[in-house]
């Protein structure tokens, strides 16, 4: 922001406003100690209903309260995903599908994909998901000491992602290295540094899609078969769109699940009463999953770009403005969730959280994510009910899209 765009409201110029909003400079992209981002987000929400943040080239208007964020997600005709992240509004971002589509184009593609991610489809995956989870835990259990993030929390969703595409989970052995390399570069805003990994990933998807063209399965049960046989407006979906969908599912499902598992296990390792409650009564797990998603949101924001000028509860927006839909701030808004900092495993209404977004772009994989988190919590505590974080460990979290950089856990063997 330049001075000409921002007017001073006080004689001292101490407090700046932009179109009536207080201007803040909070940088949400830096690595911090664990929970360092919530310590910035929560006070920002209480400063004013709307803020203007000037830490990016275009800046962004921050919607932070639960009701506003939800309404923002529902404002999908005038606010589009032409900007997906308020923190990274650049045009050089990776193309993602279906995210980057809006309106009817988006609906048509979602209608093809929805059935593979609906609760009924996810239930069909439960047995496989449980068996794979048990295998991985049994493999790690004799070690007695691991980095939970690197050795389990990323491996498990990677394997299930491959299974979703109808590929062997054992491919995770080599696939994980490519996806990690690519994801790290992407999050650092330097996708060009991982062109080699991306090429390996896209070649792998390309081969998988071609294989399904030659050996189709039941299109009602197999997603890739459905994608290669589906028609949108009488046209087949282009090969590069199908592989882009695969890439999008990979980008959306792996880091996020790792992150959620990290925060959940960091909490359970340090809160024996909650850990033991879950071990003793696994029926607590489904609501606990919702409460953890509410308390520890990792996608802290979604971006939108204003297509039509208009007013939002007194905030005047112009075409091209970037809007921040503050998912984490909404989930931790005391107006909606009393004592929002407290993890209450049996909290009523916890599942109204916005961790998966809202509106037509709400997370496609939300039910798969819920299944993964539930299965891990159940199966882990059956096998390793007691564990701890080694003394003296300093826990850190990455900015932007939150994730713990590591989580050492140890237990008696």
């Amino acid at each position: 922001m330049t001075e000409t765009q921002t007017e001073a409201t006080s004689a001292e110029g101490a407090e700046l406003t932009h179109r009536g909003c207080p201007v803040v400079h909070t940088d949400y992209t830096q690595e911090t100690e664990i929970f360092g981002h919530y310590a910035l987000l929560d006070p920002d929400r209480e400063k004013a209903r709307f803020l203007f943040n000037d830490t990016t080239d275009r800046g962004f208007f921050m919607l932070q309260r639960y009701d506003d964020v939800r309404e923002g997600f529902q404002q999908h005709v005038t606010w589009t995903t032409d900007v997906r992240s308020a923190l990274r509004p650049g045009s050089s971002n990776e193309r993602l599908l279906p995210q980057d589509l809006n309106g009817q184009e988006h609906v048509k593609l979602r209608r093809i994909l929805n059935q593979f991610f609906a609760p009924a489809a996810v239930r069909r995956m439960e047995q496989m998901a449980t068996e794979r989870c048990i295998e991985l835990i049994e493999e790690l259990k004799p070690e007695g000491s691991i980095d939970f993030v690197a050795e389990f929390a990323i491996r498990y969703p990677t394997d299930l992602f491959l299974a979703l595409l109808g590929l062997p989970v054992s491919d995770g052995d080599f696939f994980l290295e490519w996806s990690e390399d690519y994801f790290n570069a992407l999050l650092a805003g330097r996708p060009a540094e991982a062109t080699e990994s991306k090429k390996k990933i896209m070649d792998y998807f390309d081969q998988a899609v071609n294989d399904r063209r030659e050996n189709p399965l039941d299109p009602d049960l197999d997603m890739v078969t459905r994608l290669v046989t589906a028609r949108i407006d009488d046209q087949p979906i282009p090969q590069e769109d199908i592989t882009t969908i695969c890439l999008t599912l990979m980008l959306a499902g792996l880091d996020t699940t790792r992150s959620a598992l990290g925060y959940i296990f960091a909490h359970l390792a340090t809160h024996p009463e909650d850990r033991r409650a879950i071990t003793e009564d696994p029926s607590l797990v489904p609501n606990a999953v919702e409460e953890f998603l509410r308390t520890f949101p990792l996608v802290i924001q979604a971006g939108r770009e204003v297509q039509e000028p208009g007013e939002f509860h007194g905030l005047e927006l112009e075409k091209g403005d970037v809007v921040w839909l503050g998912v984490a701030q909404a989930n931790r808004d005391p107006r909606k969730f009393p004592e929002p900092d407290e993890v209450k495993l049996d909290r009523a209404g916890a599942n109204q959280h916005l961790a998966f977004g809202g509106g037509p772009h709400r997370c496609l994989g939300m039910h798969l994510a819920r299944l993964e988190l539930k299965v891990v919590m159940e199966e882990w505590h059956k096998r390793i009910p007691e564990y701890q974080i080694p003394d003296g460990t300093e826990l850190r979290e990455r900015g932007g899209q939150l994730t713990m950089t590591s989580l050492p856990l140890e237990w008696d063997v």
Binding site: R70, N114, A118, A120, N351, F356, P360, R362
Partner: protein
Amino acid sequence: MHIAIDEAKCMGHGRCYGVAPTLLHDDEEGFVAERGQCWKVPDELLGEAQDAADACPEGAIELLEQAPA
């Protein structure tokens, strides 16, 4: 008591039929099959109706004392 499910607001989160499995059902895409409808809730399912309304992250489910005009 009537229950009304706003078809435009329903985005298929699937929370409602999860907590109200007798009153509500899922379609093959994971949306609530009864979206766009408004009907009288049987007395024995009033609890489910309230749970469904409370569970919807979109605010798409409304409970109405009277049938809409």
